[in-house]
């Protein structure tokens, strides 16, 4: 038996090929849905494919999504690399958003320190919120999946309550705070659009996470714990410390995302249910990027484009809004499942047994 050692380049190439094929299948299925529901399928499909580039405004929408998807993807990648399945990014986003808003609405909000201080506060809040399920797991053996999901609900409902009861302008009956001072809102890079500082923060965070994972002692330990916790224990690595610290750090990135949400051009205030469940899409990004931080923004770029295209298709064409959700779900399903399906042998068998036939689904995986 020979063991071949594919070069790093070939490896990356194969991963990219997989992603592209999954994407193509997703688009094909989307096309079928559009053909079935639209009177003008050609227009609808071209909207899906081209709308995000149609104006500066739509580019801004796209880039704003990319920034947010990158940050949530990074937070999930960090915990996934340590093989911890904490689902707590959404809760961290809400806590981060709340604390960023509190800073922005305080006297500091009107000073040039508003943005950095609000972000630091958000990161601390997120870190605390990420630490809790980690500590519960290390100390009491509580499943981080359950505890982090429950903490999400607590965060969302508490923040929604605080907005309604205390932060919304009195007597307005609104479920959002007043606009933050301009000094507390991220400056736009293309004026008049949502193309703002958020993307820069996201890219900087990408580099930071990459550096931590691949250049520091802590990162190597974290990855070794993720690869094989029993091996880490045998090597003398304190895996519970690594576990808790990974979840805490990921929490700080979740908190940062909360600040980017509320201080971004899209909002500039704190609203109920502001994340629209986007925090969870980081799971998809992390899976497709194979938890590799440098791949996260690339995946976010492609996925964010399709996501925005689907939304614009819903606004600009006759494809029913329900179908938009269906198309989005199909894209998520195909892209995510093609990366994790254990049944590639089964698919290979379905496609026929010959050597040539098995290479195609192999590549699709």
């Amino acid at each position: 038996m020979s063991t071949s050692s594919p070069s790093r380049f070939a490896l990356v190439g194969r991963e990219v090929a997989r992603a592209v094929i999954a994407l193509a299948i997703a688009l094909l299925v989307a096309l079928v849905v559009i053909l079935a529901t639209s009177a003008d399928p050609a227009k609808a499909f071209s909207t899906l494919l081209t709308a995000p580039l149609s104006s500066n405004r739509t580019i801004g929408l796209w880039v704003d999504d990319v920034a947010k998807l990158t940050l949530t993807g990074l937070a999930f990648s960090l915990v996934f690399q340590a093989k911890q399945f904490s689902m707590g990014v959404q809760g961290q986003v809400y806590m981060g958003g709340l604390f960023a808003a509190l800073v922005a609405m305080s006297p500091i909000g009107a000073t040039p320190f508003a943005i950095p201080v609000a972000m630091a506060a958000a990161m601390c809040a997120g870190a605390v919120y990420g630490f809790m399920p980690g500590y519960a797991k290390a100390r009491f053996g509580a499943s981080e999946i359950v505890s982090s999901l429950m903490l999400n609900y607590i965060a969302i409902l508490v923040v929604n309550y605080i907005i309604r009861a205390h932060l919304a302008p009195a007597g307005s009956g609104q479920l959002v705070t007043a606009k933050f001072p301009e000094t507390a809102i991220l400056p736009a890079i293309i004026p008049g659009t949502r193309f703002d500082l958020g993307i820069v923060i996201a890219l900087a965070a990408t580099v930071v996470v990459w550096f931590l994972l691949y250049r520091t002692n802590w990162g190597l330990k974290l990855r070794l714990v993720g690869h094989n916790a029993k091996f880490a224990e045998y090597s003398g690595i304190r895996s519970s410390f690594i576990m808790v610290s990974a979840m805490t750090l990921a929490g700080s990135f979740g908190g940062l995302l909360g600040a980017v949400f509320v201080q971004g051009r899209a909002f500039g205030n704190l609203a109920q249910n502001f994340d629209g469940n986007m925090a969870f899409e980081g799971i998809l990004i992390a899976i497709v990027a194979r938890n590799k931080p440098l791949a996260v923004p690339v995946v976010a770029l492609a996925y964010g484009y399709l996501r925005q295209g689907a939304q614009l298709m819903g606004i600009r064409t006759d494809v029913p809004t329900e179908m938009i959700s269906v198309v989005q779900a199909i894209i998520i399903l195909l892209v995510a499942s093609s990366f994790t399906l254990p049944g590639k042998k089964f698919i290979g068998r379905l496609m026929g047994r010959s050597q040539t036939a098995t290479t195609a689904p192999e590549a699709a995986k």
């Binding site: 038996m1 020979s2 063991t3 071949s4 050692s5 790093r8 250049r215 520091t216 002692n217 802590w218 990162g219 190597l220 330990k221 990855r223 070794l224 690869h227 094989n228 029993k230 091996f231 880490a232 224990e233 045998y234 090597s235 003398g236 690595i237 304190r238 290979g348 047994r353 050597q355 098995t358 290479t359 192999e362």
Partner: protein
Amino acid sequence: MAPLLEAISIGKTYPGGTVANDGVNLTIQAGEVHAVVGENGAGKSTLMKILFGIEQHDRGELRLDGKPIRFANPREAIDNGIGMVFQHFSLVPSFSVYENVVLGSEPRNGIKFDRQKAIADVRALSEKFRLAVDPLPPVGQLPVGQQQRVEILKALYRDARILILDEPTAVLAPQEVEELFVAVRALVAQGRTVIFIAHKLPEVLEISDRITVMRAGKTVGSVNARDVTEDSLATMMVGREIALRVDRAGARGPLACEVKNLKIDAENGSTIAKDLSLKVHAGEILGLVGVEGNGQAELLETIAGLRPAADGVIALDGADLNDLSVLQRRQLGVASIPEDRIARGLATGASIAENLVATRLSDKRFVRNGLLDLKAIKANALALIEQFSVRAGGPNVAVGTLSGGNMQKIVVARELSEQPKLLLVNQPTRGVDLGATQFIWKSLTKARDGGAAVLLSSADLSELLALSDRLVVFYRGKIVAAFVNSDDLTAETLGTYMLGLNTQDPETMRAALQ
């Protein structure tokens, strides 16, 4: 007369390009015991999987009774009279012996499962083929040797004419091996045919009529067992002369590690081992003998710090290890080669370089101010790959892509890259080919000569006898015998103690324990 089963120029390439079989020829005559031998990765398992319908060949032809045939799945192979006993059994532990045997082909009484008939059938079968086993107790309560018989009965119940045994002796004590061979001879005497996959050459020579040797996915040749010797067979397998002999230790050094009255409990509170007392000196290898599951593995884990001691003392150079963490013990000079390299000894998804520094992440050479020195880590990997002649694409290759022998070399390289004071070794050459075995043995003796006190546990008695200076035998969590190794000490002698058939008088034991 046409041979019973024939494989002609069989070829099998796995998706991903690994060529497992390339022009393999195998001719099985009815009523013979045919051994297939070869190093790990020679393609034996793939060939057997093809014969049993788990994998399909892409080139060549299979013939049964002279007629071409192809099995799409194991069901078809079974229907054609082929049975296989895997190294890892597929039994339901909570089911009784007879239930396991008939499972899937139960005798019926109308629509009801006819238990009485099933029990009677299993009794009859086990008498006919001299595979003594009580049909009634749950399989999970039986020793491994008996479980294996249940597997064989399962195949015979389905009327297997050809029985494939995949490394059947790997899990057995010497006496159990003898019993297995008695059963194999009874099978052949009644017209069945046995294909026997094996590693250990003395056993192969003892039991088989013909031997087919495989190397690197090809058949090297087929020979009559009485025409070859162990050495000539080993040379055929490896393709070059090989000597599995090591030098014993010279004079042993001062006392290094002492274990006193150690008691080890399982997580559920039951006692695994107690009253363990032993001494290891610098420069000697102490062999821990015993059927697996009698406490040897747990003793090594406890000394390494992976398992708490319930009671007793573990001292290294006079310092108590009990309250120290794994890392602190390692810093005192404890190194360990664990039983299962994939589950415990390596992070298979991480690179070779990362695996090689995993135990030294507080070493200033590799980590400063929390930052990795990637250059030093890479240089360390390159040096160790060279020094331990690991066959690998480079330091950044994931360990999981290496063969078993090369993976084990990575573990050994990491643990021995610095001279340890106390070396804990469990199953150093399990599933490792002869070439790598030779190399690993040399590495262990080199560490011993460098002054390490070595505790060695192995399921392979010949390995223990070849390497150890003294041996202690474990039975049911206790040390029941101790020996100073000599040429007069045989596997059979050890076997009687391993199975609890013999006891040693306390004086002799105490003398050999010093």
